[in-house]
């Protein structure tokens, strides 16, 4: 028995030695490669310096494990894969392996990293990157000041939209902890054909003008607004944020006493609720609004041609393209309200972001950012735009026709609301407020009943 055990131990040691030897050999080979590449890189850098540029060119060498928030069949994932293939052809030393987890990526990634899974790049909604992954993210600030083959000799930071790169920077004390891509905005979308049929030539900029537009649309036999159980808070929340600001709205989502008569926000809450109740009374909402379950409202809007407006995100044209790709989309900013603290300069917007693991090697960091720059500038930025109808990141890129009006909104935006407004911050209250909102829109609650129900969390 002892002999058997001894034999097994020796065999194990030999296997271990062989394995370590292999690793060592591989490491030495890799080190030799790196050494060669370093020399080559030095030559390239010399040459690059002669051309007065610091482009991160073809000498990248790394294997990158990229965990993505897109599903494998989604068009975003297909663009990512196409971009990776071309990037690997241009940079033979780089290998990019994708894992497409869909929206669960946010929740799966932390556990996987804690369990020791090698993940070098990851993407998700930026706000979620910050809230969930902040301990794992690398500072990418130094890379923003470099040039890349697709930035035409300009620094990366100058090639991408400042509204979106700025929100990345603002969230982390001035550090760029991610790279924005597939940015989004949450605005009022409209059916331009209905607006034209109703003789509406200008978008409303004040609440009263919006009510006039609703009346005109209704008089012409159309339904002014639709909504459903996935965006039901939007009208009330946008109104309230215009009135008292985003921070105050967050406060009332945590403190039900602020909904009570006599509190500092009661009048504003009452006014916002009254505005929505007025719309319900006037019949400005889809009669089925209380029973619209996501994605019913958006499908009805593009298929029936009877609904004029819907507060939603810039993903809306892409999500409905399969049902009606010819839909004539327009969009405008949520209007100003009387004596509101914010105007149309404030917009709810967000972005997906590509982040890097802070434990990446230098080679992995260089390759990862070069790939992120490759994705968000030039051909693949435009491919995202064309195949997913999303907002491009490039400052000079043309926007998709369906989002042309959103470009105007974003050009006037200087203040950010959270991507789907601030009433969603507290998971203990958001569902209750949301349900009360949809009942208010359906005319099932009076203003007083709404306040009582929405504040009961």
């Amino acid at each position: 028995m002892k002999k058997v055990v001894a034999t097994l131990v020796i065999a194990g040691m030999m296997l271990g030695t062989v394995a370590c030897g292999s690793t060592e050999t591989a490491s030495k080979d890799a080190a030799a490669d790196t050494s060669v590449q370093t020399e080559e890189t030095a030559e390239v850098k010399d040459s690059a310096e002669a051309q007065d540029t610091t482009e991160e060119t073809a000498e990248l060498s790394a294997t990158l494990e990229y965990w993505s928030s897109w599903g494998e069949t989604e068009s975003q994932a297909q663009v990512l894969q196409a971009a990776a293939e071309e990037f690997m052809e241009l940079n033979p030393g780089v290998t990019i392996n994708f894992t497409f987890n869909g929206r669960d990526n946010k929740t799966l990634l932390v556990s996987a990293m804690d369990a020791g899974t090698e993940i070098n790049m990851m993407d998700a909604n930026w706000d979620n990157c910050i809230s969930t992954w902040s301990d794992y993210l690398a500072d990418l600030t130094e890379y923003y000041d470099k040039t890349y083959p697709t930035t035409n000799g300009e620094k990366y930071v100058d090639c991408v939209m400042s509204a979106y790169s700025g929100m990345i920077k603002d969230a982390c004390d001035g550090k760029y902890m991610g790279v924005a891509y597939i940015p989004q905005a949450f605005v009022i979308f409209c059916n331009k054909d209905i607006f034209e049929a109703c003789g509406i030539t200008e978008y409303p900029t004040t609440w009263d003008e919006l009510m006039d537009v609703c009346q005109t649309v209704k008089d012409a036999g159309y339904i002014p607004f639709t909504d459903e159980n996935a965006r039901e808070w939007a009208m009330f929340s946008y109104y309230l944020q215009r009135k008292i600001g985003a921070e105050a709205v967050e406060e009332i989502c945590y403190d039900s006493s602020l909904w009570q008569e006599g509190s500092k926000y009661y009048d504003a809450i009452y006014e916002a609720a009254s505005a929505v109740a007025y719309m319900a009374e006037q019949g400005y909402y889809d009669p089925n609004v209380a029973s619209n379950v996501n994605p019913t409202a958006q499908q009805n809007m593009v298929l029936n041609g009877e609904i004029a407006m819907y507060i939603n995100g810039t993903w809306l044209p892409n999500e409905t393209a399969a049902s009606n790709s010819e839909f004539n989309w327009g969009a405008f900013s949520f209007p100003t309200v009387e004596d509101g603290v914010d105007g149309t300069e404030a917009t709810a917007f967000g972005t997906y972001a590509i982040c890097c693991n802070k434990n990446n090697t230098q080679e992995q960091m260089d390759a990862a950012f070069a790939f992120a720059a490759f994705l968000t500038t030039g051909t693949y930025d435009e491919m995202f735009r064309d195949q997913t109808q999303s907002i491009p990141m490039g400052v000079n890129a043309e926007w998709p026709a369906a989002l042309a009006d959103v470009k105007t909104i974003m050009s006037q935006t200087s203040k950010r609301y959270l991507s789907q407004l601030n009433t969603k911050v507290n998971s203990d209250s958001s569902q209750i407020i949301g349900d009360a909102c949809i009942k208010l829109e359906a005319g099932l609650l009076t203003v007083e009943e709404f306040i009582k129900e929405a504040s009961n969390f």
Binding site: D135, N292, N294, D435
Partner: protein, 298 residues
């Protein structure tokens, strides 16, 4: 062969170690998290900060959690009665020798192999939709306007009922198969003897099938309890306060939403999970006491 304590320990060790890792450790960790403020679900315990029972107090003061527990009880009782009675009825019919019983078994079981998300959207978009759903179109063709305009999915009205109907549809096949296997174990002699004594179908069901299925029914109720506590997909899809169940509530606290900014409350989610586990355990113990398998010889 004489078994020494050491040999027993060696053979038991793999099972005990695995059990400790995959069951005891998560339970102990979850209980620990429920008494702490925790950054995220995988945060090292050294980063936790002790909060005592405040997560439990906060949880009991949260209306959405209370609603979710009431919804759990409503689903457990009402949907449970509908599902288990229907399953028993179908099992009885499909063991009575009717033509095509294998085909019907397969068809009724089919929703169990379809993802809960797909079942949910099928009901939402193709059955309950107020504009082009099956029920709307069917009632309209029959000229029943009131029924056609019934808002199945209206918040503050019928969305809970609609969700329960979808849940019964997707669950009934599973329990039907359980009951079928139980019924098929009952000796045919009992039925033949009862037939000779002049018993009708109902009498045979009440006096033979039901008593001899007592153990299976008890097991099915215990399974139903744990399945309802794990009920999630349909709640997420039907998405309203009225359809919120504990599992959805815990998920929201733990992971938030993919596209919205929501504060994560991991310690409170752990407290909710502990409450859910205790609830299921208590219900299972009560059921075990109430429905005793009397071990008839079948």
């Amino acid at each position: 062969m004489k078994q020494s304590k050491g040999t027993i320990a060696v053979f038991l060790a793999p099972a005990i170690i695995l059990f400790a890792i995959v069951f005891i450790y998560p339970v102990v960790r979850t209980v620990g998290m429920s008494f702490n403020e925790v950054g995220n679900i995988t945060a090292d315990s050294s980063t936790w900060s002790w909060t005592g029972i405040s997560n439990y107090v906060d949880l009991m003061n949260t209306r959405l959690f209370r609603i979710s527990m009431v919804n759990f009880l409503k689903i457990w009782i009402f949907t449970g009665i509908a599902t288990l009675v229907l399953a028993l009825l179908l099992a009885t019919i499909l063991t009575s020798g009717i033509i095509g019983q294998k085909f019907f078994r397969a068809v009724i079981y089919m929703p169990n192999v379809i993802s809960g998300v797909a079942v949910g959207y099928m009901w939402l978009l193709y059955v309950f939709n107020a504009d082009y759903g099956l029920l709307h179109s069917l009632f309209l063709k029959l000229g029943w306007e009131t029924a056609a305009n019934f808002q199945w999915l209206s918040v503050g009205g019928n969305v809970f009922l609609a969700m329960c109907i979808a849940y019964v549809f997707s669950s009934v096949g599973y329990y039907m198969l359980m009951y079928i296997s139980g019924i098929e174990k009952i000796s045919k002699d009992y039925y033949e003897s009862a037939t000779l004594d002049g018993a009708n179908g109902f009498q045979k069901f009440m006096n033979i099938t039901l008593p001899l299925l007592k153990g299976v029914i008890g097991t099915s109720i215990t399974l139903w309890t744990s399945r309802v506590m794990g009920f999630f997909a349909l709640s997420q899809i039907f998405n309203s306060t009225e359809t919120t169940v504990p599992m959805k509530y815990v998920y929201q606290l733990l992971f938030g939403s993919s596209d919205e900014v929501t504060e994560l409350k991991v310690g409170k989610a752990a407290a909710a999970a502990v409450v859910m586990t205790v609830t299921v355990t208590i219900i299972s113990m009560v059921i075990k006491r109430v429905i005793k398998d009397e071990n008839y010889e079948i």
